[in-house]
């Protein structure tokens, strides 16, 4: 029979100040950790949607992203020669989507327009909807090819001002071409949901451009993307091609570096929390020397005593964890869970929301358990190794 949970609980309550301070240490560390995990998961969730390996993103050789790529129309026309590009079953057209990328500065809703962010504007043809399969209209209508109209990604519509259906956005290189928002589209939460889409020819005109930024291709089923990439990068075409997942994993390098930095700082903080717990538990063991000896005498094994102290420590960490998670949630409610982060790919901002998810709670729980158990291990072993006779004699 193990020691009852009530026993540990009582002990924690009997040393109120120490328990409270240790709980607060753990809660501060767990709070920061939960926030960071939420942030990382939200970003990762958005990028994980971009997993279509039969979609190729073709950019200029030497360019590092769509934002700094410029493809002249002759280069684009050479892509038609690729044999493995899918064709539309109904019309027989090849699924090749030339696209142009630019940006517009819009006020952020979350701080009532005190700051602005650059939002990507993508010029597309109707072909884009067949190449980017995840993009679909959720409200309103598609832009009319003859009218200055745009559709807006759901994430962008939530976070930036003036993007409701019916409102007008000033586009063009001089910011004097009014475009009306006629629809909202979803991209299953992927990065494109932070963009504004309009008709390619109309936007090329508004921005005085003749070049495309990128060309997106849909490959036929069963084709090895690498063969097509080799062909695109070969001597006949000389452009650079990426599958969608490869493109995004390369684009998120900077984000990953920041998350690594934040992660290592939190690891250091966790170590401090482990030391604080160890301190508390050592003191607890020292204060209960005779009691432990009693427990051993009445038949509890050293292993049970060890387990008991680990349980007590984990219990302590759990209270801290709950408090920390609650703190992180309160912070998100206070400051808002809507974030946007600069992305090199479009040289604009990527909007996302930090939402609590089972995975996020799971990560925090594992962290709490680890901190609690690691902090207790050394003191608990000391308790278990206690020399019973000496301890009983000691008053």
């Amino acid at each position: 029979m193990a020691l009852p949970l009530k026993y540990h609980w009582r002990h924690l309550l009997s040393r109120r100040t120490s328990t409270l301070l240790t709980v607060l240490v753990v809660s501060a560390v767990v709070g920061v950790f939960t926030w960071m995990v939420g942030f990382a998961l939200a970003l990762r969730g958005s990028l994980a949607v971009a997993d279509d390996d039969h979609k190729l993103i073709v950019i200029k050789r030497g360019a590092t992203a769509e934002s700094n790529s410029a493809i002249i129309p002759e280069d684009e026309s050479r892509l038609v020669a690729l044999s493995d590009v899918a064709t539309d079953a109904a019309t027989g057209e090849r699924l090749i989507s030339p696209e142009m990328l630019t940006q517009v500065s819009l006020p952020r809703l979350r701080d009532a327009g005190r700051t602005s962010a650059n939002v990507a504007v993508r010029g597309v043809t109707p072909m884009a909807f067949k190449v980017h399969r995840k993009v679909r209209l959720v409200r309103g209508a598609l832009f009319d090819l003859g009218e200055p109209q745009i559709i807006v990604g759901a994430a962008a519509a939530k976070q930036f001002a003036g993007l409701e259906i019916g409102s007008t956005v000033q586009l063009g290189s001089s910011g004097n071409r009014p475009y009306r928002v006629v629809g909202i589209f979803s991209a299953d939460g992927g990065p494109m949901e932070s963009e504004i889409w309009g008709y390619l020819e109309s936007l090329k005109n508004a921005y005085g451009r003749s070049m495309y930024s990128s060309v997106n291709l849909r490959l036929r089923d069963g084709v090895d993307p690498q063969n097509v990439i080799d062909e695109v990068e070969g001597p006949a075409i000389q452009l650079s091609a990426w599958t969608e997942p490869a493109y995004w994993s390369q684009q998120s390098g900077l984000i990953k570096a920041y998350l690594m930095l934040a992660g290592s700082l939190i690891a250091v903080m966790s170590l401090a929390a482990i030391f604080a717990i160890a301190n508390t538990m050592f003191s607890s063991v020292a204060g209960r020397t005779r009691e432990i000896a009693m427990l051993r005498t009445i038949g509890f094994s050293g292993r049970q005593v060890l387990a008991g102290f680990v349980i007590e420590s984990v219990l302590l960490a759990l209270i801290g964890g709950i408090l920390g998670c609650a703190g992180a949630m309160a912070w998100l409610n206070l400051v808002g869970n809507r974030k946007d982060m600069f992305g090199m790919s479009t040289f604009t901002t990527m909007a996302f929301e930090i939402n609590p998810s089972p995975l996020m709670w799971g990560c925090s729980l594992v962290m709490v358990l680890a901190v609690g158990a690691l902090g207790a291990l050394w003191p608990a072993r000391r308790a278990a190794a206690l020399d019973v006779i000496t301890a009983l004699r000691q008053v």
Binding site: A65, S173, V268, S283
Partner: protein, 390 residues
């Protein structure tokens, strides 16, 4: 030796493990404090240099990514033809760039070569370097940290592939590694070389990314910031003129509001250290209740107990503070980590000043952690305390 110091030593060594764990729990957060503060200060120093340079940045009103006409150079000059107030105007154009076969992104900018030296005097070129810059069309100035990373020296020939048009490989000759400049990463080369290579892109040729203008005084800077925008108001390419600090700050905070995130993080981390130290002092107080009461009973005043507790708390935190400040200082000054660079911003330099500040923070943590036990000790009723324990 002073009685109090002997007492302090015995108090610290009475529970060595506890003292060590607490010092470590203070040292680790202070390490984070030192690192975060160093990064934030690095960014601030960078921005402060921008303020001192009295430069205006003229960019396209729509976005930094749109180009401005080359003719704006002359029109801005016409606002102050004598050049007494707008000392020099330098057109710039960003091409990013990568060394073929290397992942590390570069930040290379084409600059008008005639006006670059006067607009960026902080680059302190020697007469010889200046001569090379003026006469060699393929001249390039490489920030010293970038140069160190690739092992480039003055006189080397280097190849860079621009990440923007023209995209084709460009060859340069390193004329300076900018040993005095605040910016240690950026590369500057000549605009005429870029424009030559851009002939294949008639749409982009001749255009300029943004203009940097060196002003004579702070008043000129303020005045022309508005005059320049007024000059181009209503044109097809309207401008947005800001001082260099604002320009850089927008660029840095756009990446990821790093200064703000780090400030919050280091605040929380100091709190963690404070709680951990307070916990220890609380436990020490509890364990020594009996002893503190005895001290009072034999005639030592409350002041003595308060002094003992505060001294111990300060000593533990000073131990932690020293370790927490010294570890990053040593690591980033004497080990290979000294070449560590934060993406886009700067090399991480840990200045002794930040370490001294960390010690002050450690002292504050110590004083706070000891406050409550000290107060309890001062209030201690001897009779109750002696009765309470055994």
């Amino acid at each position: 030796m002073n009685l109090r110091l002997i007492y302090l030593y015995h108090n610290l060594s009475r529970n060595k493990l506890r003292t060590a764990l607490t010092a470590a729990a203070v040292a680790l957060p202070l390490m984070i404090y030192v690192l975060s503060t160093a990064v934030v200060r690095g960014i601030e120093a960078y921005l402060d240099n921008s303020v001192k340079q009295l430069r205006l940045a003229v960019q396209h009103k729509g976005s930094l990514i749109y180009y401005l006409p080359a003719g704006y150079r002359a029109r801005i000059r016409a606002l102050d033809p004598e050049g007494n107030r707008l000392l020099s105007i330098c057109g710039l154009r960003w091409i990013g760039g990568q060394v073929p076969g290397q992942r590390r992104p570069l930040s290379a900018l084409a600059a008008d070569h005639e006006t670059f030296p006067q607009t960026f005097p902080d680059y302190e070129m020697t007469p010889e370097q200046l001569h090379q810059w003026m006469t060699d069309r393929q001249a390039i100035i490489v920030g010293r940290d970038t140069a160190a990373h690739f092992g480039w020296k003055v006189g080397d020939r280097i190849t860079i592939r621009p990440s923007l048009p023209p995209y084709s490989l460009m060859e340069f000759h390193v004329v300076s590694t900018a040993d005095k400049a605040t910016d240690t990463l950026t590369l500057f080369f000549r605009m005429d070389y870029l424009q030559e290579e851009l002939k294949k892109y008639p749409e982009l040729e001749g255009r300029v990314g943004f203009y940097f203008i060196k002003c004579a005084t702070g008043a000129d800077l303020k005045e022309f910031r508005e005059k320049i925008d007024a000059e181009f108001a209503g044109s097809l390419d309207e401008t947005r003129t800001v001082d260099e600090k604002t320009f850089m700050n927008e660029f840095i905070s756009q990446q990821f509001n790093l200064p703000r995130t780090l400030t919050i993080l280091s605040g929380i981390t100091v709190l963690v250290a404070m709680l951990a130290a307070a916990n220890t002092m609380g436990m020490n107080f509890r364990d020594r209740l009996n002893e503190l009461a005895s001290l009072k009973a034999i005639g030592f005043g409350s002041g003595f107990s308060v002094f003992l507790i505060q001294l111990e708390s300060l000593a533990i935190c000073a131990l932690g503070g020293l370790a927490g400040a010294a570890a990053p200082y040593v690591a980033f000054t004497f080990t290979p980590l000294k070449n560590f660079s934060i993406p886009v911003i700067q090399t991480l330099n840990i200045e002794p000043r930040v370490c001294v500040e960390a010690l002050i923070v450690a002292a504050a943590i110590g004083a706070t952690a000891g406050a409550w036990p000290a107060w309890m000790a001062a209030k201690l009723k001897v009779v109750h305390a002696l009765r309470a324990l055994e």
